[in-house]
């Protein structure tokens, strides 16, 4: 029993599990920030008066929502970095980290866009009619009347997108970010197959600890922020 515990202890000391989780949290944070900005822009495009913008927004969503994230991540390295020579940092570690963040952001922006659109759908017709009646044109109406209510109505789907983003940050492995959780777990299992269950438990519980609070917060927020109608 003692052997077992010390073996497990040594294993956890040998690999930087907390560092790996920290990497995924950072990937998620930056990815979410950019995805939120891009997704909001896309949502505005999709409800805008200009047909070409609506079309561009819809095309973006169709393409990125339907491509496996693994392929997007591979494209970030093989297409954007290798072929187009777009370098996001001088050292490799930062460079691939940022490429992975961009990959996560462009993929999840499509879902943020759809979440905000579903939020727009919770805004009653009268609100938009009232905005027009007092002479607001599209952008002021969107900024002052529609989007504030839409975001509140979209809290739950946005929270779910954030959870998906956190879990999908493991796919950064395909963008050569080899120090994140899934790669670390794979290496640990490969060299310590006798601790398979324990290693999986450590990582799985880590994600449960991260995901459950986001879920609870989302539910609480979505009830608190819901516009009373």
């Amino acid at each position: 029993m003692n052997d077992y515990l010390s073996g497990l202890g040594a294993l956890l000391q040998q690999y930087d599990v907390l560092g790996a989780f920290w990497t995924n949290i950072q990937l998620t944070f930056w990815g979410a920030l950019i995805a939120l900005a891009l997704g909001t822009l896309l949502a505005l495009m999709r409800i805008s008066p200009i047909a070409s913008l609506r079309w561009a927004g819809a095309t973006y969503v169709s393409v990125f929502r339907n491509t496996p994230l693994t392929i997007i991540m591979t494209f970030m390295v093989m297409g954007v970095w290798t072929a187009l020579q777009i370098q996001l940092a001088d050292n490799f570690e930062d460079n691939f980290f940022r490429l992975a963040v961009v990959g996560l952001a462009v993929y999840h922006a499509a879902f943020v866009c759809e979440a905000i659109r579903s939020g727009v759908n919770t805004v009653p017709l009268g609100q938009a009619e009232a905005a027009r009646a007092i002479g607001l044109s599209f952008l002021p109406a969107a900024r002052l009347i529609i989007l504030p209510q839409a975001f509140r109505g979209a809290t739950a789907p946005l929270g779910n997108t954030l959870i998906a983003l956190l879990k999908n940050s493991t796919v950064a492995a395909a963008a050569s970010v080899s120090w994140e959780t899934s790669s670390t777990m794979k290496t640990m299992i490969e060299f310590n197959p006798n601790y398979l269950w324990e290693i999986f438990a450590v990582f799985a519980i880590g994600y449960v600890i991260l995901v459950i609070p986001i879920g609870l917060l989302t539910t609480w927020l979505s009830q608190r922020l819901a516009v009373k109608r």
Partner: protein
């Protein structure tokens, strides 16, 4: 809760098992007979993505490892149609042997003490050395020491890049990709300065992809003794060693090396090749 989930898991596993037995699409269109280890045939693990060593080329498998595997299997008494080839990626080789997915592995598999703890080896049948692949007009990289501050590509799960970082050039930047083809593309685009792995693999890559734009540096700095991976306690080791010795003696070995490195300007290290198989454990 545990019981509940496990029961369900077992159910799901059982149903998928039963159904997957009906066969799926085997890549390469090979017939599925003898696909599982044991039985009448033999399942041999090879690489599918290494030109010159183990490559899936349409419905065929080509390369030095594949040819040696065929020769050895024939010597063990298996005819051509009793052999099933299966992909064994670097990171999965030990587990695929332990799990019985394959009966033996010919996949640029270096004999190391670490691996010997979990599996057995026959051979070696070839001795390669870690080397570097660079652009043909590159003159400032002549060995691993020159990689300080340079960019290096290797495949995920391989130790060769780590080795350069710890032993030769601490300031080297590493890119890890799932396959060498991606490394070669990055090298051709100038985003990395060198690709590292065993010289014979690099020779195959430069012959297949380079159009003469790439060259192997030609100063191997390690000894990689390619062995035949076997499950722990296998009784095939002696017979395989006999087959390898026969292959070297009757001149087949030399023919196979020449045929598979054609167009790559590569000759194996003559001091170490052809090797004499180790005694079996």
């Amino acid at each position: 809760m545990r019981k509940h989930t496990m029961g369900l898991l077992a159910m799901a596993a059982a149903s998928t098992l039963a159904l997957s037995a009906c066969g799926g699409a085997e890549v390469g269109g090979e017939p599925e007979e003898g696909a599982s280890a044991g039985g009448d045939g033999i399942t041999i693990g090879i690489k599918y993505d290494q030109p010159g060593l183990g490559l899936q080329d349409g419905a065929e498998y080509t390369g030095f490892d594949v040819d040696v595997a065929r020769y050895v299997a024939n010597e063990l008494g298996y005819s051509e149609d009793q052999i099933t080839f299966k992909e064994t990626p670097s990171a999965n080789r030990e587990s695929m042997l332990q799990n019985g997915d394959v009966d033996m592995i010919f996949a640029t598999y270096s004999i190391t003490d670490e691996r010997k703890e979990v599996i057995d080896f026959a051979g070696p049948y070839f001795v390669a050395g870690q080397d570097l692949l660079v652009a043909a007009d590159n003159t400032d990289i002549t060995g691993p020491e020159d990689l300080e501050g340079k960019n290096l590509c290797s495949v995920t799960g391989s130790t060769s890049a780590e080795k350069i970082k710890t032993d030769y050039a601490e300031g080297v930047q590493l890119l890890e990709r799932p396959g060498y083809a991606e490394c070669v593309t990055a090298l051709a685009a100038g985003q990395v300065d060198a690709v590292t792995t065993d010289d014979i693999i690099l020779a195959g890559l430069s012959a297949a992809n380079g159009d003469g734009n790439l060259k192997v540096v030609g100063a191997p700095f390690s000894e990689e003794r390619y062995g035949v991976g076997l499950p722990k306690g296998s009784d095939r080791c002696e017979d395989i060693n006999a087959a390898i010795t026969k292959m070297i003696d009757d001149g087949t070995w030399e023919e196979l090396v020449a045929a598979n490195t054609e167009g790559a300007d590569y000759t194996p290290n003559a001091d170490l090749n052809p090797p004499t198989p180790d005694a079996c454990a």
